[in-house]
Amino acid sequence: MRKYHYLVLFLIGFLVLWPFMLHKLYIEQEKNTEAFVEQTGAEIGAEPSGDGLEMPEGDVLAEGNAEAADGTSGQGTDMEEGSGQEKQGTGEASGQEPGTEQAAEEASGQETAPDGASGETQENAGEAGEDAEETAEEIPPEEFFQDTLFIGDSRTMGLAEYADLDNAVVFANTGMNIYRLYSLKNAVRDQGLYLEDILAERQYRKIYLMLGINELGYDEGQTVKRYEEEVLKLQKLQPEAKIVLEANMHVTTARSGRDAIFNNEGIDRINENIRQIAEKYGFSYIDVNEVFDDETGGLNPEYTHDEVHVLGKYYQQWADWIRENGV
């Protein structure tokens, strides 16, 4: 017995787990396992499981990887490199130009741009509606993000990390959603703060809000209702702030097609709901997808590796676009 008690223990444990796992497997098959396996690959898929863990992103990606890796790397080094290479290749082909452009833009943003860019800002502000006019007109681009607060999920996190937002305040975390706005901590810049603290700290001039993709698993009506409530609450807490609702960025069309929940149809639906909320209460609404979409209406695969987030070097384009739009 001493020589094989692991076997005995294992069998006992296994027999206890087995019916449960078989049941689980059975259910998974019923619901078409594959879609879900794919889903959990993305940050967005499994975020709710990140609760109480320090690094939700890590966990979540782990799961995705477990599946993705299992598909191919089970063979040890005999990997099928084809698809990976393809992705990197195309990513690079386009990578060069925008990268340098960006650098130039960045440099000019600080020194030479004021005249040129402020002209643009004013022009666009005209189009953007009455709301925008008063604020945008007076503000030179280098102060554009003065007293500004960004609220968002991992995409906004990337924006804070890889784009120049001057000294805007950012409140974002991987897996942030409208339901967890006050229960998740900040994961960029002033880390560890709750939204409550950040809002109490001072009065902001502008608040950008990009949320909605992580809510796709929830009941839609519920989410829209909650979103509306949260936006109104935000306005109440920050009466001076001009609130800008951002449309959620698409995922690639390929990714969208593989996913029963986190797809562009869902994103478009939530975006439309957000747009209606903006209309109803006179908030501004901006849609960055015009910058990153390809002709199929999904995130351009050349801008991304994981098909959900743009590569680090493209975040500056997003920030510049916000500046140019003047809202």
Partner: protein, 468 residues
């Protein structure tokens, strides 16, 4: 289907073992053959062509070996014992034709990717091609007798523990066990222990560390800092090791459960003092194959120094190509050849004399060679290498998030540390020494439970989570 999946752990394996243990020996081999084909079927999404391919491999090579035997017998009758040492023309023709068939298919699937986009390598073809050719060559060399039962040969080639990721088992290693095997409670216990350990390495270490590498792809190489580039390649080095090592350990464990002794594939390679030593301890069965069937037939080190270096060059180019049809693998193979040539020319003595120098040298070379291995696109590889060594290009392009290193150390620090500790062989020592202790059993049970939990969560339906 891979070992670290719910389907394998809770459906295939228990059902397979249940039937397997109840069958008599003859039935065991047949069942192992067909069961493994079912296992393979899951892996290739029931692609009928790939299934035909592997069955054809068994049947054709079975016939080829029989053919060689037949020619040999005929020759012996004709010539008597005089020329018994030599292989007849018939034997040669059969050997060459069947080697052409085996390697031709392998080359076709490996290189088709160069020209056509949508051809996917049939899973495991690199492994089973090498395994079946080793059998055939051994028959030709009279190192082993040809198998008379096609089911037994099928069981040898397709046996699911090693089918899709090795180790590459020689036929002579399992010759006896195919005919007579002893399965005891103790051997099953050991098998399960190895399996659990391997599963833990794969799921708890490799998969977690793989995320860091994946995160770096998501950011894009242009936008990472130099420290993060090093952290990333460290994570990749650990991931590829624990992925592959874990898989090999699981294969050994499953082999024991079935009554086979599958050879070890890794011996703490990251503790090596030189590249030469590293490749004696990393993917041992592959190195063994190349030595046995390429290096030594080419003359090995018996035909002078110049010829030896040439032979090494051939072996390392082929090793590079075996890993994938991409230019970076050729470059990688060449680099390994160069490093080992320098070592053979004298560096080895220094490295082995001052161990600390050897370890530092390997601490540098292991991640750098893996970077070349990992990044298949030459342009991206250049970007990454410039991130690793920023001296060559002043002022790196792209926006870099300055706090990225701290951020990812915070996220993955514990995993990286655990990985580094597990590289040293400490875990294996502790395991071997106390493996019959009760607390060790409990510990392994926890590892198994944690692994299953991770796999389970990976599969989870997000809806279930969203509804609190």
């Amino acid at each position: 289907m891979v070992f670290s999946s719910m389907e394998f752990l809770f459906l295939f394996l228990p059902l397979f073992l249940l039937v397997y243990y109840l069958l008599p020996l003859k039935g065991k081999n047949v069942f192992l053959f067909f069961g493994s084909l079912v296992f393979y079927g899951f892996g290739i999404a029931w692609n009928i062509y790939y299934m035909v391919l592997i069955i054809a491999s068994v049947i054709l090579n079975f016939l080829a070996a029989k053919g060689i035997e037949h020619c040999r017998r005929k020759k012996r009758i004709q010539d008597g014992e005089e020329t018994a040492g030599q292989n007849s023309t018939g034997e040669k023709v059969i050997l060459i034709l069947s080697l052409c068939y085996n390697f031709g298919l392998l080359l076709f699937f490996k290189y088709a990717g160069f020209f056509v986009q949508n051809i996917i390598l049939p899973i495991g073809i690199s492994f089973y091609t090498f395994q079946i050719t080793s059998y055939l060559i051994d028959v030709y060399r009279k190192k082993t007798r040809p198998e008379q039962d096609v089911m037994r040969l099928g069981a040898y080639l397709t046996m699911f523990p090693q089918l899709i990721a090795g180790p590459i088992v020689n036929y002579s290693e399992v010759y006896k066990q195919l005919r007579k095997r002893k399965i005891t409670l103790v051997s099953c216990n050991h098998g399960l222990q190895f399996f659990t350990l391997g599963l833990g390495f794969k799921v708890l270490l490799a998969n977690q560390l793989g995320n860091l590498w994946e995160d770096i792809q998501t950011i894009g190489y242009e936008s990472i800092s130099t420290p993060l580039a090093w952290l990333g390649i460290l994570a990749y080095s650990l991931q590829i090791y624990f992925d592959f090592y874990g898989y090999s350990l699981m294969a050994v464990g499953l082999g024991k459960l079935l009554g086979f002794r599958i050879p070890d594939n890794f011996r703490q390679p990251y503790m090596s003092l030189s590249m030469t030593e590293f490749w004696r301890r990393w993917h041992i069965t592959l190195g063994r194959w190349f030595r046995e069937y390429v290096y030594i037939p080419l003359g090995g080190n018996r035909k002078g120094k110049a010829r030896q270096f040439l032979n090494l060059l051939v072996v390392w180019l082929l090793t590079g190509l075996w890993h994938g049809a991409n230019w970076n693998f050729i470059f990688w193979g060449l680099l390994l050849f160069l490093i080992m040539s320098v070592e053979k020319a004298g560096l080895l003595k220094i490295l082995e004399r001052w161990k600390i120098v050897g370890h530092l040298y390997m601490c540098f070379l292991i991640p750098v060679t893996w970077a070349i291995f990992a990044i298949t696109d030459p342009f991206m590889l250049k970007v990454y290498l410039l991130k690793l060594f920023p001296f060559f290009e002043a002022g790196s392009q792209g926006v870099v998030f300055q706090g990225d290193f701290e951020k990812y150390v915070g996220m993955y620090g514990i995993g990286l540390l655990a990985g580094l500790i597990c590289c040293t062989g400490l875990v294996e020592k502790v395991f071997i020494k106390w493996r019959n202790k009760f607390w060790m059993s409990l510990l392994l049970l926890i590892i198994f439970g944690a692994s299953v939990f991770c796999i389970y969560r990976g599969l989870n339906d997000p809806f279930l989570y969203y509804r609190f």
